[in-house]
Amino acid sequence: METLKSTFDFSDFPRLDITVAGAVSVFLLLFPVFPHSAFAMATMIQFLMFSLYGMGWNTIGGYGGQVDLGKAQYVGIGAFTTTVMLIRWDIPFWFSMPIGVCFSVMWSFMLGYPLFRLKGHYFAIATIAASLVLKDIFEVWDFVGAARGLEISPIKYSPPDFLRLLFKEDIYYYYVILAFFFIGILYVNWFRKSRLGFQLRSIKDNEEMAQSLGINAHWAKIKTYAIATAFVSVVGSFHACYIKNIEPEDTMSLDISILIALMAMLGGAGSLWGPIIGAGVLIPLKSYLKEWLGAQVGLVGIDLIIYGAIIMLVSAVEPRGIWGIVEKIRRRKKE
């Protein structure tokens, strides 16, 4: 009962935030009704997916201050679990997705236990390495299609199939991921006010101090890492059904790990709205750059240059991202 109350309680935000959030929600709900291009629809789905990745990353990376650059491996575990189960045993999405989450969480515990003995940059580097190793394993593992990857044939399972989450029209995918998106926001809203959330924030503040207040820092980090992993794995499974053609190089690349962390940091790590703002800025930018510049002028990789510039800008101007700037302005106004 109390958990439920906390989940739906946004009262500690200023009224302006709630109004804006409400308006954005209405827009997201009605977006497919308005005329739109297929490109815009794909971009919106990407935006929602990456918002969810960012929200997951934000629990451990934002509230906990543990910069994790290996989230792509869990995208891969989720995506491959769903695809393999569908192709080999015809197990539908709604069953394979939770199983994928179980695999991801189990893997995250095994990895988290040694990784969280490391601190700061060493932790970040180790997460990159772990993610790349798993990608390399998938690339030579025939059971999951090795480097060629796997393809879900829409002819074999004729859409629309709500159980297997296979559709021809993107609008179905849009509403499924939108539902996950709202659930994600509610979950993080609960998390940030929960005991674990406070423990993580205290650890980020000062780990020795946190431990002297009875917090088992190592265990708290491992638990939160598993939560972040679950978010990413769910979206990974969705990604598999949506794209229908996955290979380790796409789903588990370092680019994705970095993009997830970058978006959350740009928007504002350690705040509820940060990852959504970050995804809202970066995903359209990424899509349009790829569409216009990348293809037409032949400027492949311009998006990477722009990410680099953004990282430098954020760390120089306001390490707490866009949301940090908003809060700074508000604080000044109050005074």
């Binding site: 005991r195 406070f198 924030r201 205290s202 009875g214």
Partner: protein, 248 residues
């Protein structure tokens, strides 16, 4: 059995012996001061008691159980809280949220933690600062917030590490009132490390003096102030010889 018993505690960092065979007892309801010149091993002793450093040899008993090898979060759960000398506040948590972290040790409910944190802040007369970030308030208030946070864990015993360092006389007066309040009205056993002599002498029932890692004296504040060993530790051998007449 006393609340805290330390038997022959020794802590070595490589070749350096920071604490050498220190033994003492703290009874429930005591207010103990620990004095000693710079580098005497006071903070190291606290860190050993609180489980931050592993002990080289010796035993620590708290509330009837051995806690020598426990980690700091386990020691905290047994009811021994502490504050830190240098607290680097990165400022991600507001004052009330800081105290809530302490309260969360005993409750899983956010609402209960918040209520309790508010009560504690009221008791510490800090309620007007609730919504400020820790980095935005004066140092003296910051120190009282860290004490409030430690009290939030509902400890049996509180270790205070140099809470008066860098404060002006007026603020020290305020801190003393706070410590007395924690001790008498909340009934928490307090042990404090302090450089500021007058604070320790004023409020402690009993004083322990460390020098070069060894316990050199223990007793009531008055006796300690006239103890030649203590004066030697603080002012040097020559001072004691020159003033030998006064100590007889």
């Amino acid at each position: 059995m006393a609340l805290l018993e330390v038997h022959g505690l020794t802590k070595k960092f490589g070749g350096l012996t920071a604490n050498d065979d220190v033994s003492f007892k703290v009874n429930e309801g005591d207010l103990i001061g620990m004095l000693g010149p710079n580098g005497a091993g006071k903070s190291t002793l606290f860190n050993c008691l609180a489980g931050l450093y592993p002990v080289t040899s010796g035993h620590v008993f708290f509330d009837g159980h051995e806690i020598t090898d426990l980690k700091s979060h386990e020691v905290a759960r047994r009811g021994m809280a502490r504050t830190f000398q240098v607290y680097a506040a990165s400022g991600d948590l507001s004052v009330v949220e800081n105290v809530m972290v302490g309260c969360f040790m005993r409750t899983g409910s956010g609402f209960k933690a918040k209520d309790r944190a508010k009560d504690i802040l009221k008791e510490f007369k800090l309620q007007h600062l609730s919504d400020y970030m820790l980095s935005e308030i004066p140092v003296a208030a910051q120190k009282r917030v860290t004490m409030a946070t430690a009290v939030g864990t509902e400890p049996k015993m509180l270790l205070l590490d140099e809470v008066a360092a860098g404060l002006n006389p007026l603020e020290i007066e305020e801190i003393m009132t706070t410590i007395r309040g924690i001790h008498s009205s909340m009934g928490i056993t307090v042990m404090l490390i302090e450089h500021v002599m007058e604070l320790v002498m004023n409020i402690s029932d009993r004083v322990i003096v460390l020098d070069s890692g060894r316990k050199i004296a223990e007793g009531d504040p008055k006796a300690i102030a006239n103890n030649p060993d203590v004066i030697k530790a603080y002012l040097g051998e020559r001072y004691v010889q020159e003033h030998a007449e006064e100590f007889k």
